[in-house]
């Protein structure tokens, strides 16, 4: 077992883990943060996308021990409080950007840095940014609409 100390959603955690444990499994099973979903475990589906030091990455392709000393943000860290959603989440709600919801956390965590770097994206840029996240419900049109709506909401702020 190896001791890791990392910050997740601005809270510091210390745990003893097997070196082989994936960060995605660590978040779900050790910390109980089951908002990060696990789909394909080989980096294709994007369901497990989290922010690692502020940038989107696949948590299924990083070992928990590699996150020692780093900062991770999961979907649970987006909303400012219990009663309010993040404008990106609110936009997914309003524009029907989710159906079964399995892919949603990964898409949100992909779009946070995307909208930070591209506050006024074109539809084409949104579609390109979405290409690393699969939606088995194929609800892409509404997801694109939701991201577009979010970019408008977030620019107004």
């Amino acid at each position: 077992m190896t001791q890791v100390t990392l910050t997740v959603n601005e809270t510091q955690y210390t745990r003893d883990v097997e070196p082989r444990m994936l960060l995605s499994d660590f978040l779900r099973h050790e910390l109980g943060l089951t908002g990060t979903h696990v789909g394909c475990e080989h980096g294709v589906c994007g369901a497990c996308t989290i922010l690692f030091d502020g940038e989107s990455m696949r948590s299924c392709l990083i070992f928990a021990v590699q996150a020692d000393g780093h900062s991770v943000t999961t979907v649970e860290g987006l909303a400012p409080d219990k009663d309010n959603l993040h404008p990106l989440q609110q936009s997914f709600w309003e524009a029907h950007g989710l159906q079964c919801g399995y892919c949603t956390p990964g898409i949100l965590m992909t779009m946070i840095p995307f909208l930070r770097d591209n506050p006024n994206p074109t539809e084409d840029e949104i579609r390109h940014a979405l290409s690393g996240n699969l939606c088995r419900c194929t609800g892409y049109q509404h997801i694109v609409d939701a991201v577009k709506l979010a970019s408008e909401k977030m620019r107004e702020k």
Partner: protein, 275 residues
């Protein structure tokens, strides 16, 4: 380096992990020891030096994508990197990891061959430089020994009057391409072709340099006709695609021909504009 020399043959080097960890998740590889380079900060530089850009093996693909000196000095690399998988993968994946993995369908190995890069291998006691054209020995196989790691990549500036193009066709954006080509055309002062280079991905068991085809262009003018005959020669005689579930070998050859024509045209036009 001590750990690697003690465990040569059984230890695996972990760079960005965007190929190794999927393989481990599928239990296709089960190394007894992983040596993680992610905390070796001195391997993640990108810097100009004389007429080359030196890149540490652990520089992330995302850093290559946004590096201003790469954009200016090696525009082929700048233009090609966004074709590697998705942003989430490029945020973690490294130049060195992709090169050493030596996947014939990957972009960075063929770009290294196209750009005449040199690769520095290091073991516990010595270092050596290997030309990219000698580095890739076959599918997932490189010239590195089991006690060596790749530490640095040296990429020369693209020469003056050089145009470039990178084109690939993938089933979906970010997927492995069914076929891809990097083209470089250097014109002389009279506007004739001084040298040209075409290197393909997913066209054999490693990067495929269609040297005999591009030789046909040397000293001549790039015309619709000469470009077409080079594309035909390269796609029929020099590449050796295997085919897969997305594309038959015939379709891969067809893609290679069409992409070669488009890429050579774009490269020649850009070379002309820089006259």
């Amino acid at each position: 380096m001590d750990l690697l020399s003690q465990h040569a043959g059984e230890a695996k080097i972990l760079a960005g992990g965007q190929s190794l960890v999927p393989a481990m998740n599928f239990r296709v590889v089960q190394p007894s020891l992983l040596i993680d380079l992610n905390r070796v900060a001195e391997l993640s530089f990108i810097r100009e030096e004389g007429n080359v850009i030196r890149v540490g093996a652990m520089a992330r693909e995302r850093h290559l994508e946004f590096d201003a000196s790469i954009e200016k000095r090696i525009p082929l690399l700048h233009e090609a990197v966004p074709n590697i998988a998705h942003p989430q993968i490029r945020n973690r994946g490294t130049i060195g990891g992709s090169i050493v993995h030596a996947d014939p369908a990957a972009e960075l190995p063929m770009l290294m061959v196209a750009l005449n890069a040199r690769l520095k291998g290091k073991n516990k006691s010595a270092e050596r430089w290997i030309d990219a054209k000698d580095f890739f020995e076959g599918m997932f196989t490189t010239a590195l020994e089991s006690d060596e790691i790749l530490v640095e990549i040296e990429i020369p500036f693209m020469p003056p009057r050089t145009g470039w193009s990178f084109m690939e066709v993938a089933p979906r954006s970010g997927d492995y391409a069914m076929m891809g080509v990097a083209a470089l055309v250097t014109l002389d002062k009279e506007g004739k072709c001084n040298s040209a280079k075409l290197v393909y991905l997913n066209a054999g068991d490693g990067p495929v340099d269609a040297a005999a085809s591009t030789q046909m262009l040397a000293g001549g003018t790039l015309s619709e006709k000469s470009i077409e005959s080079v594309a035909v020669h390269a796609s029929e005689n020099e590449i050796n695609p295997f085919g897969n579930i997305h594309a038959s070998t015939d379709f891969q050859r067809h893609l290679a021909k069409v992409l070669t024509q488009k890429a050579l045209k774009q490269a020649a036009q850009r070379a002309g504009e820089s006259q």
